[in-house]
């Protein structure tokens, strides 16, 4: 009669008791279609709360598999899920929370050639990704499709949350006109993140999504909320549309999706040592062989001190110079010998090698796979992290 089944009336009774939701709001949630890009720390609480709230269609977009390191914060998954596809595991979990929800799994990497197609099937897009290229991609796709983009981002003890909607306010590019150079801003894998933090920020993304679908309250459009968990301080900042924004400004230049890896400076890493300006790589096995042969090599570890404490190559003379200090401390590196730079996985050290090459260090190598590669190939007792 009222559009909700007897089971729905019971399941959502606490929503129905809210004047701002009621039957009409619950029907709006049931009609809602929400895409969650990234089934990780942020995607976990957003997916679970949206499913519990009765959002009719939830699309999960991810291509990764569940890793043991995810479980400290990604509460969608259990230990038994390690090794399983994230989308498959997450979809099962959401269906378990609420079988009435139509959960669509998109087991793909969101990219320029599929983003518009996938996201066009949804009303609202939640960004739970962990990298800059995908964030710019999601923003631009939402601007082009005219859809609200629920933004959340975390690092260590701090989180940011906002709602970008180019039709009613600023977009992500209005705030962050360009991405940082690769390696400059640490990822959660590098800088760490307190497990509960994505729970807080992701829950706020779910909150803003529900408000948009219901049409209740004041949205975070035009506002950026910052949370510092250590000091327990919230700050709210005003955001304005940038008339010069290339995506949503007066004369937008981004009228189609672009190459976001290229935009974020993540392309052009030629591995051949013959290519001028290329980053030469050495495998852990080869490095070990050369060290065992008594070759004098300068080893530079560009990770953070806490990572050095987990595992390091100090026994081979490695020196710790975190990536952020590499410019100021480059003169501490012995350039009379061949130099091998390493980090956790090989990304930060690649950035360091490029930087040092620019400062005239030419006899320099990047350790492929980082210290995790060393642990895998050379020293299994070391363990990876």
């Amino acid at each position: 009669m009222n559009g909700l089944s007897a089971s729905e009336l019971k399941r959502y009774s606490r929503h129905l008791a809210l004047p701002d939701v009621g039957i009409e709001g619950q029907l709006a949630l049931r009609a809602g279609k929400v895409a969650i890009v990234g089934a990780g720390g942020l995607g976990s609480p957003t997916g679970m709360y949206l499913a519990a709230a009765g959002v009719g269609k939830i699309g999960l977009i991810d291509f990764d598999v569940v890793d043991l390191t995810n479980l400290q914060r990604q509460v969608l998954f259990s230990t038994d899920d390690v090794g399983r596809g994230k989308v498959e595991s997450a979809a099962a979990r959401l269906r378990g929370i609420n079988p009435d929800v139509d959960v669509i799994g998109h087991n793909v990497r969101l990219a320029s050639d599929n983003a518009l197609d996938i996201l066009s099937g949804y009303d609202v897009v939640i960004d739970g990704t962990d990298n800059f290229p995908t964030r710019y991609l999601v923003n631009d796709a939402c601007v082009l499709l005219g859809k609200p983009y629920i933004y959340g981002s975390i690092l260590r003890f701090e989180g940011q949350v906002s709602v970008f909607d180019a039709q009613r306010g600023p977009c992500y590019r209005c705030l962050f006109r360009e991405p940082p150079p690769p390696g400059l801003v640490p990822s959660c894998a590098e800088g760490g993140v307190l497990g509960v933090l994505p729970g807080i920020i992701g829950s706020l993304q779910a909150l803003e999504t529900l408000k948009l679908l219901i049409g209740a309250g004041d949205s975070l459009i035009g506002r950026l909320a910052l949370f510092d968990a250590l000091s327990f301080r919230w700050r709210e900042l005003k955001l304005k549309k940038n008339d010069d924004c290339p995506a949503c400004g007066v004369n937008p230049t981004i009228t189609a999706l672009i190459d976001y890896e290229d935009f974020c400076g993540l392309k052009g890493t030629a591995m051949s040592s013959d290519t001028p300006g290329a980053v030469r790589e050495i495998t852990a096995t080869e490095l070990k062989k050369r060290l065992d042969a008594g070759e004098a090599l300068t080893l530079v570890d560009v990770r953070e001190p806490y990572e050095w404490d987990i595992a390091n190559l100090e026994a081979y003379g490695a020196k710790l110079i975190p990536l952020g200090d590499i410019t100021d401390r480059a003169d501490e590196i012995d350039r009379s010998r061949e130099i091998v730079v390493y980090c956790r996985s090989g990304k930060r050290s690649e950035s360091a090698v490029r930087h040092l090459q620019g400062q005239g260090f030419d006899n320099i190598w990047n350790l492929r796979g980082g210290i995790n590669g060393w642990a895998t190939e050379v020293d299994p007792d070391m363990g990876t992290y």
Binding site: G38, G40, G41, L42, G43, D127, G128, T129, D130, N131, F132, R135, G152, S153, I154, L155, R156, F157, E158, Q160, L175, F176, R177, E178, P179, P180, L184, V185, P186, S187, C188, G191, V193, P198, L224, L226, D228, S231, R235, E236, L237, K238, L239, K240, N242, E304, P322, G324, D325, T327, D328
Partner: protein, 107 residues
């Protein structure tokens, strides 16, 4: 009247200290301090003082051309720098907070 004048004097004091708040992504480059107080008349003064005291921060905040980097935003209280009429020359008053907000991508 006297009180107003005193307040005005205090607010316009040239050696007033600006409160600068830095995010976690940048505090490694300034000795781990998230909050700093620096003498400053304007936002520009405050940022100049910040990078003078902590040179490692300069390349994170400023491009080689001298302008603020596109992935760093500066707010005076709740207002973004580029929306302020005087920009970097905007006066800083007692009790104001300058916040540096960089892009982070963790999820």
């Amino acid at each position: 009247m006297v009180l107003q004048e005193l307040t005005s004097l205090s607010r316009d004091a040239a050696d007033g200290r600006a409160e600068i708040r830095l995010p976690t992504a940048l505090i490694d480059h300034c000795g781990g301090q998230a909050v700093l107080f620096l003498p400053a008349r304007t936002i520009g003064d405050a940022l100049d003082g910040l990078v003078a005291a902590h040179p490692a921060l300069r390349r994170h905040l400023f491009a080689d051309t001298g302008g603020l980097r596109g992935y760093v935003n500066v707010f005076l209280n709740e207002d973004e720098l580029r929306t302020l009429p005087a920009g970097l020359s905007e006066r800083v008053q007692e009790g104001d907070v300058i916040m540096v907000v960089p892009s982070i991508a963790g999820g």
